[in-house]
Amino acid sequence: MIRCAIVTTPIDPAALLAEVTTPATGATTLFVGTVRDVNEGRAVTGIEYSAYTAMALEEMERIAHEASSQFDGVRVAVEHRVGLLVLQEISVAIAVAHARRAPAIDAGRFIIEELKRRVPVWKQEQYVDGERAWVDPTAISVPVSVA
């Protein structure tokens, strides 16, 4: 079982857990990414997530299928949210269930690492001083002029 989605409304982590857990699974892992208040020493008030939605969804599904091939029997649900998120809101949730804990843990880790590396999603941080910057993990942040 694999389900991936790009969503615009709050992610419900408990729903994802329930979705992947069955009487045949014994271990479920959940990874949740949340908006935090500081990045590179700057006070953040929110993050605007945007995506190349069609490709992001396909790439998430490719990653989930790769996880499924590597860790036979995993059940996977992945949601990535887009739009403006405030502090502590969930940007991504990855739930993985398996009969045994090792594949559930390893597949969950594989998926978040690949998602960060490959899924076309971007974030623009909004700072306390009103400035904004696109987050570029390959470089230092690029300031954006405020509209």
Binding site: Y49, Y52, P137, A139, V144
Partner: protein
């Protein structure tokens, strides 16, 4: 010569002032032609030495042929999660 539409996102869309730009490229065209054409447009200086291109929602590597009808997109450094 032919015209191709290229999708832009995030910092690239900001730099080019649009989420879609049209480039004029030789025919048959390659991904390298698309990048060269983009560099000559206003905002083109934002592009790194080797920008990442996706065709039909898959990443490409190296120089690949492209043609009208494909979904061509330039992918800034991703920052999801």
């Amino acid at each position: 010569m032919t015209q191709l539409q290229v999708l832009l996102f995030a910092s690239y869309a900001d730099a080019f002032g649009s989420g879609t730009v049209t480039v004029t490229v030789p025919e048959p065209a390659t991904s390298a032609d698309v990048v060269t054409a983009l560099r000559s447009l206003p905002g083109g200086s934002v592009l790194p030495a080797a920008p990442v291109l996706a065709v039909d929602r898959r990443y490409t590597r190296g120089v690949v042929p492209v043609h009208a009808g494909q979904e061509i997109a330039l992918i800034p450094p991703v920052a999801g999660g």
